[in-house]
């Protein structure tokens, strides 16, 4: 592959484009509501009316408003249909040929869409994720071509550093610094790893990106490989995401076929091979040292850091690990320049962040917003508040490692530091809205059960501490808890947070700590007044 061939594909694609494009969402959300049948029925209507020359029906990835799906979009009219069914899908074609469409029309001017800033998701819902030609037409692999033929690795790292991009997996470590460390680490081999083990319950950003624009991620990884001097990459995706896995497999095959991955990319000396690794259902594998153990075919148990993967990672070689969304940001940063990227966001947190907005909120779905937007804007303006006239009480960010932020702090701008200040974390981008009917102690117990069951069992505080905390929370939820139990729960939170080996354990108490901080009353109301003064921990099953 050379630049001219890329351009030729682009030209050919442009020529083949038709007057009207009907975009059918075929990401996992809409697919589960018969998205494939909808596309078939639209195609059938188009061919029955003999409109194949005017109308193209395209499979696309996620358009964001998954809660209103299945979605169908019309270009260039800019129409958006929602809750489409295979039965009324044909009428959309009717509407394009003089008749009227029965399908429900959505509002593309709604703040849910208009307030977004699309960088990572720029191609999502627009291109066919299973055709590399679509990606190329949208500018795909042009940046990689530029990088390998025009830039020195250090220039790439400088650009990423200057952009201010921070890791989108949750911790927010400056991406450029990490790249620099890996580039400098001595090693006869180096590896690039993409962490797509999106385990936070209530989060699906990475799934959506992989299902909608897999080439963007592959290109970002290749640029990373060039920058740090790695020739082999692994992309680790959860087995729970079969569609993302199959689209990635397709994308890797196509990229290899076109010589965009493999040896001598763009006729340079740069080799870059990507292998897919499927997770097998272990949340802890989102932790980088556990993920590497899993890639090596072992139990996904973390090991103490240092040594960090950047120095000693896969099989002891320097390894760069970033998450899906981080890699998806690389192409725009290199293409449009770090200054452009750094102009978005807040002083310390640049760019945009993709969130999955779910729970007790009217507009469920995937949103990409500039960092620094307030929680209130996200929940009330984009999300439209709680359904059925209920009052929003809190939003949970960061999954089992995060916390619940109460409505009185909704004017806080969303960035890494401010969320930590509120006792939560940015995390990978899950935002679950809770309304007045949500029992916060029960939510804390839900997360604790999650952490208990996902604890790998290696270190004692996490393995045994989460069990004790879960038992105590259960007692409190079932109104059998005492003041002593609450005290013991807080002591255990302190222990597990400060003594656990890895991030899973160190953050497992967060949902409890944050609900204790903001909703302590809910705990106190549940305490058993009768036995409050009696002995210590009391007993679970004696009454049964």
């Amino acid at each position: 592959m050379v630049l001219e061939q890329l351009i030729a594909i682009t030209e050919k694609e442009k020529k083949a484009r038709k007057e009207i494009c009907i975009r059918c969402c075929m990401a996992a959300g809409c697919m589960s509501s018969r998205g494939a049948e909808i596309k078939e029925s639209i195609e059938k209507a188009v061919s029955e009316k003999g409109l194949q020359n005017r109308i193209e029906v395209r499979r696309v990835g996620c358009m964001g408003s998954c809660g209103q799906g299945p979605m169908v979009g019309i270009e260039p009219a800019g129409l958006l249909y929602q809750h489409v069914t295979p039965e009324n899908a044909a009428s959309i074609v009717e509407g394009l040929s003089g008749g009227s469409a029965e399908a429900e029309l959505g509002d593309p001017k709604h703040p849910f869409f208009s307030r977004q800033k699309l960088i990572v998701c720029a191609n999502s819902g627009r291109i066919d994720p299973e055709r590399i030609e679509d990606s190329i037409e949208a500018g795909g692999y042009l940046t990689l071509q530029h990088v390998v033929s025009e830039l020195q690795p250090s220039q790439v790292i400088d650009a990423v550093l200057k952009s201010g991009l921070r890791g989108r997996g949750g911790a927010g470590y400056p991406t450029g610094l990490k790249w620099g460390t890996v580039a400098k680490s001595p090693g006869t081999r180096k590896f690039v790893v993409c962490n797509g083990d999106e385990g936070d319950p209530g989060a699906f950003m990475d799934r959506s990106v992989l299902e909608s624009d897999p080439h963007r991620v592959l290109e970002g990884m290749a640029i990373a490989g060039y920058a740090v001097g790695a020739d082999q990459a692994f992309i680790y995706v959860r087995a729970e995401y079969p569609l993302a896995v199959s689209r990635l497999q397709t994308a890797i095959r196509q990229a290899k076929h076109h010589g965009l991955l493999g040896n001598g990319i763009f006729e340079s000396t740069f080799n870059f091979n990507v292998e897919l690794r499927i997770g097998a259902g272990a949340f802890v594998c989102g932790e980088e040292t556990a993920l590497m153990a899993s890639i090596e075919g072992r139990r996904g148990q973390p090991h103490p850091r240092p040594p960090f993967p950047a120095e000693s990672g896969l099989w002891g070689f320097p390894t760069l690990i970033n998450n899906v969304e981080t890699y998806a940001n690389i192409v725009p940063i290199v293409k449009k320049g770090p200054d452009w990227f750094a102009s978005l966001g807040t002083e310390k947190s640049k760019g945009t962040k993709v969130f999955s907005l779910t729970g007790k909120v009217r507009n469920n779905g995937l949103i990409e917003v500039p960092i620094g937007i307030t929680i209130r804007e996200i929940v009330e303006d984009l999300g439209g508040g709680a359904p059925d006239g209920a009052k929003v009480k809190a939003v949970q960010t960061g999954g089992p490692s995060g916390g619940c932020i109460p409505v009185e702090h909704f004017d806080t701008p969303v960035d890494y530091e401010s969320l930590v200040g509120l006792g939560s974390i940015m995390g990978s981008g899950g935002m679950v809205v809770m309304d007045e009917h949500t029992n916060m102690v029960d939510v804390a117990r839900f997360y604790m059960q999650f952490c208990m069951e996902e604890s790998c069992g290696k270190c004692i505080p996490c393995r045994a501490g989460t069990v004790q905390m879960y038992e105590l929370l259960t007692k409190i939820v079932e109104r059998r808890g005492t003041r002593n139990d609450l005290e013991q729960l807080e002591e255990l939170c302190d222990l597990v947070k400060h003594t656990s080996l890895c991030g899973l354990g160190q953050t497992a108490p967060n949902p409890v700590l944050s609900t204790l901080r903001y909703f302590r009353n809910e705990y106190l109301e549940l305490l058993n007044k009768e036995v409050q003064e009696s002995g210590s921990s009391g007993v679970q099953e004696q009454k049964t």
């Binding site: 996992a28 959300g29 697919m31 589960s32 509501s33 408003s65 998954c66 809660g67 799906g69 999106e198 385990g199 936070d200 319950p201 209530g202 989060a203 699906f204 799934r207 959506s208 087995a239 729970e240 995401y241 079969p242 690794r277 499927i278 997770g279 097998a280 259902g281 272990a282 949340f283 899993s294 890639i295 090596e296 075919g297 072992r298 139990r299 996904g300 999955s356 907005l357 779910t358 729970g359 007790k360 469920n364 779905g365 995937l366 949970q396 999954g399 899950g430 679950v432 809770m434 949500t438 939510v443 839900f446 997360y447 999650f450 996902e454 790998c456």
Partner: protein
């Protein structure tokens, strides 16, 4: 030293698929999880014979193979039912009532999560999060996701799924 490859456990063609997977990854120890995936996909579960064969073929100690197979939720050491029903218990589904959906399905099927009915027709499982949060509560019937589940429509759909296959 020449490495002696163990013979395939039987004539069953599926072992060829498993062997091909291991060959593609150079019979390296790190191929263990990928290989277990292939066996699980081909046979539906991992039995002792399979684990023992993989241990020898990849030269990984049997206890490590067993340790890995039981570490990850995705692998099953017992045969699954003809149909599977996976109730998502991710946060978004949970706050929208997934536990009631699960309770209704448990009541209907007479089995708890993680169990298979005695007639081997249905295995009931729960998932951490399948990423279908926006359409929660979500249930996966035989690999196909259904969103917006209520206790009633979840059971109704299950009846349909089991009925079709019987």
């Amino acid at each position: 030293m020449k490495v002696i490859k163990p013979p395939l456990p039987s004539e069953d063609k599926r072992w060829k698929i498993v062997d091909a997977k291991m060959r593609r990854l150079g019979y390296a120890g790190h191929a263990l999880i990928e290989t277990l995936h292939t066996v699980q996909e081909s046979f539906g579960y991992l039995d002792k014979e399979a684990l023992s064969f993989i241990a020898r073929a990849l030269r990984v100690p049997p206890s490590r193979v067993y340790g890995v197979a039981t570490f990850y939720n995705f692998f099953s050491l017992k045969p699954q039912g003809v149909h599977t029903c996976v109730v998502c218990l991710g946060t978004a589904c949970y706050v929208k009532g997934a536990s009631q959906v699960l309770a209704a399905i448990e009541l209907y099927s007479g089995i708890k999560s993680g169990e298979t009915t005695s007639d081997k027709q249905l295995s009931l499982l729960t998932a951490r999060c399948i990423g279908a949060c926006a359409i929660g509560p979500a249930v996966v019937y035989d690999g196909i996701v259904a969103g917006h589940r209520t206790p009633d429509n979840a059971v109704e759909k299950l009846e349909g799924v089991i009925g079709d296959g019987a």
